[in-house]
Symmetry: C2
Amino acid sequence: MLWSIVGTIAAICTTVGFIPQIIRGIKTKELSDVSPIMLTLLLVGCSLWLIYGIHLKNPIIALANGFTLSFVVAIFLLRAMYKRNNSKK
Amino acid sequence: MLWSIVGTIAAICTTVGFIPQIIRGIKTKELSDVSPIMLTLLLVGCSLWLIYGIHLKNPIIALANGFTLSFVVAIFLLRAMYKRNNSKK
């Protein structure tokens, strides 16, 4: 029981952890310091974790990575948008 | 067998994914766009995943999160260092 709580809190932290990055990006309109290679690897990694979680029928792995994936996609799109807008200036 | 490969590739991607961020930071000497709240949550999350992985005696969870934790700590320290240096200028 205690250990499921530890695992759940761990999953929540590493999932919702990407939300402050989205908020910071929207506030500063700048995400160029965030590595696009990191985002690409996280995108591939989370997609595979999601597939793996569905295969294992493990809802924590599947859900946590499904959410993380959507946050990483959001950071990627915001980064591309701000890069385009900032280069126009 | 196929599924262990999927899980292993997933773990490798989400772990080594942070290395390009370290390299980018060292190259540009700038990590201010990276959210410190994200780094804090990843730090707590990976630490708990590491403890959870050790408890489960699952070497993939433990190792992957041990490495990710060290990369996140490195990004955190580099960010703090560059922030201090850049504010001195």
